[in-house]
């Protein structure tokens, strides 16, 4: 049985690269959402307003997280991938993320 568990399709590497590119494109969206979340917090004068120290820890925490994620993504993204996708048959021609 275990022999049948080999890779089901061959474009594994380029598939992974395309998904990583998707992830890279989603990074600013994730960052914007996380950075906008504090707007939902109660503000000065309302009950349960968080102190500035908590806000600082949250925002700089998110900032660090984004930095780490961006670093990981740029590490994983293959710089030569650009050229590689073009030579490939357009297996995912309908993929809107590749429109640019």
């Amino acid at each position: 049985m275990s022999e049948r568990r080999g890779p089901l399709f061959l474009g594994r590497v380029s598939y992974r690269q395309r998904r990583l590119a998707d992830a890279a494109r989603l990074m600013p969206v994730l960052g914007a959402i996380l950075m906008a979340l504090p707007l939902l917090w109660p503000r000065a004068g309302e009950a349960g307003t968080p102190p500035t120290s908590v806000a600082m820890i949250y925002i700089f925490g998110v900032w660090t997280l984004l930095t780490v994620l961006a670093a990981l993504l740029s590490h994983w993204l293959d710089p030569t991938f650009d050229a590689a996708t073009r030579e490939e048959p357009p297996a995912e021609a309908g993929d809107p993320a590749r429109g640019d």
Binding site: A24, L39, R43, S53, T67, A70, L73, P79
Partner: protein, 893 residues
């Protein structure tokens, strides 16, 4: 205490170090040992000119006034860099592949190299950046002043303006020196970038040092500092959502659009791969820059006396705590921030001003256009130097006029919102093929005007430019035009209001105008280039060459690129085309390449205009239109044209090949004939000579022998005569000197005559005749008989059947008389069939003599008679078909 003199000495020393760094980097780059200059780290650090003195000093002041809101200024750019895969990567790729020199150049290139658009962007950028430069001058002046207040021994500064003036002058000197050293083909300034990278490190460490001192030196550790923050007036979370969102978006937009950011991010970019490092390292840098801002602000409010300027807490806190060395370091950090921003901003602006305003004006004032003599490079460099000085002078003037007051502090965001007006045109140009020049112009004008009205003019304060009446009542009493309440919507924060309306209407007008108008072919071409940059990085914008003269182009290029560089470029291009010397053919490819090289020096629009002047303005060819139009029909038309062309070419090639083969065969035949004819002539001549010598020298010959030898001589002489007759006959026929004796007659008598004359009854050949032999024809009977005889003789000679039979069949068809001569031999080999009618052609090397002229003569005769003779293949033997016009047809002529 730090004396003012020491301060000035440290400043000068620091500047001297920067000079050395910049100089060393330029030298290293010149020697090609600049690998370390091209590291991603240097690129990331150079991006830090985003953090100006406004960040270094102003962020703390901002935090002291509005709490956490200052973070938005750094969150926006962080998100842009984290999302580099969207816009920044594309910008950099386009910038590199199109040799873009500035943001104005990018926008003008995208929209069909429009000069008008470039001028508009340049003006807006100058208006938006000048206050920012003034802000930097102010920050240096203020920081020097804060030292002079603390230094009791110092003479009071007679005039703070003198500081600003000398700073501006020094910066102008540095920028002119390193920013306009040479007209680099790709506009990279290694020295400047390296100096900025060093300054980035200095300002980061200066701010971190103050922060560490504040947290651990004054605050007593992280926990206690956080507790003091919560206890301070800033202790409660009180951001305003609309400002938070609007400022984040605004700073993100400005990060992409600011001329100085564009300069370091796109123009100075050495390698696209550097973005991968900058994507995480630059957000990290920004985070570190903003990390200690709140603690410093809180401590400043806490420790310093009330009324101290929060914008200078970074300096005044260490001074108040007696840490003069730290204060000095902090001062250097602030100085770094201010100088690096001013240097890069003035380089970026001067490039724009000289490329898009000065050069076009200068070129249009030159009578001969780009063709005048002299070196344009000096003009370009001079224009750039004057622009740098002009930009700094404007900044200084703005500082003097605005009075350097608090009004200036608010100008940072207003400056941001000014350059953010480029964003719709910029992003639209990157991602939307349909964006066009009219849309970009309209959007920029509308956005720029709203920005002027709602943000820039009011920023000078009430009654400075706009009267307070206008502010509250609107111009001419038009209430819906109040600068802070457009369309009667009141209650919005003035900045949010201005940013919202200007960007919204800018975008709407941009999109609507783009939808409603048509782009020029050049715009469509460039649009396809920009939007689909990742599909085809190679440029395809075309010049239709031919009209351009290589020599003129060379003269022009020498003046812009320099003689040696231009000659090397031309020589390389000529070699690539397989030519010797320095003048390549002005092909479309070459012109494109040249334009790209030139645009690296003078900007795309100018380079385009210059080449346009020489090529006669034929800038978009039909091929280009076909290339840009991806509509199926046009592509198909294009490819079918290509197909037809290639078919035609293949046909011509086939014909040429056939002709060539024939010529080769003919030449072989001619050689063979010459040797044959000399042989033919030689044999009879030899025997004639031999027998005549016998007759002359031998006295003992009897009469019979004499007769025999004389007969031989006679026979050989006849053979020679016949050969010469044939040659003469053919020559006469070919030259058209022969007259045909056309007379009516029947076919049969001619044929009978020919059969009798060829002496068939004495040989083995049997002749069968049949068909329409009684047909009346009008022809030269002797000549036709000659053809018949020749064909019959051929059959006698060449038919190799055991019992040779020649069938002669005549019939009428479509006004023609057709006579077929078919024998039962092996016929003529396929490869010889098209040769047999040529002169001197002899089939095989048969024993049957003949000079190979018979069929050639036949063909000539038949042509003269208005008919033809062809070889009829596939008839089980040699078959010749004669055609003759019938008598009616002849009569009708």
């Amino acid at each position: 205490m730090v004396s003012l003199n020491l301060l000035i000495a440290v400043c000068l020393g620091y500047v001297a170090v920067l000079f050395l760094v910049a100089f060393g980097a330029e030298r290293a780059a010149l020697r090609g040992r600049a690998a370390w200059l091209r590291s991603p780290l240097v690129y990331t650090l150079s991006l830090s000119i985003y953090c100006t003195a406004w960040t270094f000093y102003g962020a703390v002041g901002y935090a002291a006034r509005s709490g956490m809101e200052y973070l938005t200024i750094y969150i926006g750019p962080s998100l842009v860099m984290v999302g580099w895969f969207w816009a920044v990567r594309k910008l950099v790729r386009i910038g590199r592949s199109q040799n873009i020199t500035s943001v104005a150049d990018l926008i003008s290139s995208r929209y069909g190299k429009s000069t008008l658009l470039a001028v508009l962007v340049t003006l807006l950028a100058v208006v938006g950046t000048t206050p920012y430069i003034a802000l930097q001058l102010q920050s240096v002046t203020l920081s020097v002043a804060s030292f002079s207040q603390a230094d009791a021994t110092a003479r009071p500064l007679p005039d703070q303006n003198s500081t600003a003036f000398w700073v501006a002058a020094g910066l102008a000197f540095f920028t002119v020196l390193f920013g306009t050293r040479n007209l680099d083909a790709n506009e990279r300034h290694h020295g400047v970038v390296m100096a900025i990278a060093v300054e980035a490190v200095v300002k980061l460490f200066a701010l971190l040092a103050v922060g560490v001192f504040v947290v651990w030196g004054i605050g007593g550790g992280i926990g206690e500092t956080l507790a003091r923050i919560d206890a301070s007036p800033l202790g409660e979370w009180h951001v305003v959502p609309d400002r938070w969102l609007a400022l984040s978006a605004l700073s993100a937009a400005a990060f992409l659009c600011l001329p100085r950011m564009f300069q370091v991010m796109v123009v100075e970019n050495e390698e696209e791969g550097h973005l991968r490092t900058a994507a995480w390292a630059f957000p990290l840098y920004l985070m570190l820059m903003s990390l200690f801002v709140v603690p410093i602000a809180v401590m400043g409010l806490d420790v310093l006396p009330a009324g101290a300027n929060p914008d200078l807490f970074v300096l005044s806190l260490p001074l108040a705590e007696g840490r003069s060395n730290l204060a000095l370091f902090s001062f250097i950090g602030g100085f770094s921030s201010a100088t690096s921003m001013v240097i890069v901003a003035s380089i970026a602006l001067s490039t724009m001003v000289s490329n898009h305003i000065v050069m076009p004006i200068w070129l249009s004032r030159q009578a001969g256009g780009a063709m005048v003599s002299g070196d344009v490079r000096y003009v370009v460099i001079l224009a750039r130097r004057l622009s740098i000085i002009g930009v700094l002078a404007l900044g200084y003037l703005y500082y003097r006029i605005s009075g350097g007051g608090a009004a200036l502090a608010a100008i940072g965001l207003i400056s941001f919102s000014g350059v953010a007006q480029f964003l719709p045109a910029l992003l639209g140009g990157l991602f939307w093929r349909g964006a066009n020049r009219i849309g970009a112009l309209a959007g920029l004008i509308v956005g720029g005007l709203i920005w002027l009205w709602c943000l820039f003019l009011p920023s000078f304060g009430p009654d400075m430019i706009l009267s307070s009446g206008t502010m509250t009542e609107g111009p001419f009493g038009l209430g819906w035009l109040r600068p802070y309440a457009l369309f009667g919507i009141v209650g919005l924060d003035s900045l949010v209001h201005g940013v919202f309306w200007s960007l919204l209407l800018n975008t709407v007008v941009f999109v609507m105008a783009s939808l409603a108008t048509f782009p020029t072919p050049m715009e469509r071409l460039q649009g396809a280039q920009f939007v689909n940059i990742f599909d085809h990085s190679a440029a395809t914008r075309g010049w239709s060459g031919g009209m351009a003269q290589s020599e003129d182009l060379m003269i022009m290029a020498q003046r812009i690129l320099g003689a040696t560089e231009a000659q090397a470029l031309f020589r390389q291009a000529a070699r690539a085309q397989g030519l010797q010397g320095y003048l390549p053919e002005p092909t479309s490819d070459f012109l494109q390449m040249l334009e790209r090289e030139l645009s690296g020096s003078v900007g795309a629009a100018t380079a385009h205009a210059m080449i346009g002047q020489i090529t006669g303005g034929a800038n978009v060819s039909v091929e280009d239109l076909l290339a840009v139009a991806d509509e199926t029909a046009q592509i198909m038309e294009h490819s079918s044209q290509l197909e037809a062309k290639s078919d035609e070419l293949a046909r011509t090639a086939r014909q040429l090949r056939a002709a060539n083969e024939k010529l080769t065969a003919l030449s072989v035949q001619k050689d063979a004939f010459l040797s044959q004819i000399s042989h033919e002539l030689r044999t009879p001549m030899t025997s004639i000579r031999a027998f005549s010598e016998i007759l002359r020298d031998t006295d003992t010959l009897d009469a019979a022998e004499k007769t025999k030898y004389a007969d031989i001589i006679h026979g050989e002489a006849v053979r020679l005569t016949r050969l010469l007759d044939d040659l003469l006959d053919l020559s006469v026929l070919e030259n058209g000197q022969v007259r045909m004796n056309i007379a009516p007659g029947r076919l049969r008598p001619i044929l009978d005559h020919a059969i009798a004359a060829s002496g068939v009854d004495r040989g083995r050949l049997t002749i069968q005749t049949g068909g329409a032999l009684e047909t009346e024809i009008a022809t030269d009977r002797d000549r036709l008989a000659q053809v018949f005889i020749n064909l019959i003789a051929n059959a006698q000679k060449y038919c190799d059947a055991r019992t040779p039979v020649l069938t002669i069949a005549a019939r009428e068809m479509e006004g023609l008389l057709i006579v077929d001569f078919t024998d039962n031999g092996t016929g003529v080999a396929a490869d010889a069939q098209d040769m047999i009618f040529e002169k001197f052609s002899r089939i095989g090397h048969q024993q049957a003599g003949g000079a190979g002229l018979g069929l050639a003569i036949c063909r000539e005769i038949m042509v003269r008679l208005g008919g033809s003779i062809t070889y009829l293949p596939g008839q089980q033997g040699a078959a010749f078909r004669l055609t003759l016009p019938l008598r009616d047809a002849m009569a009708a002529q």
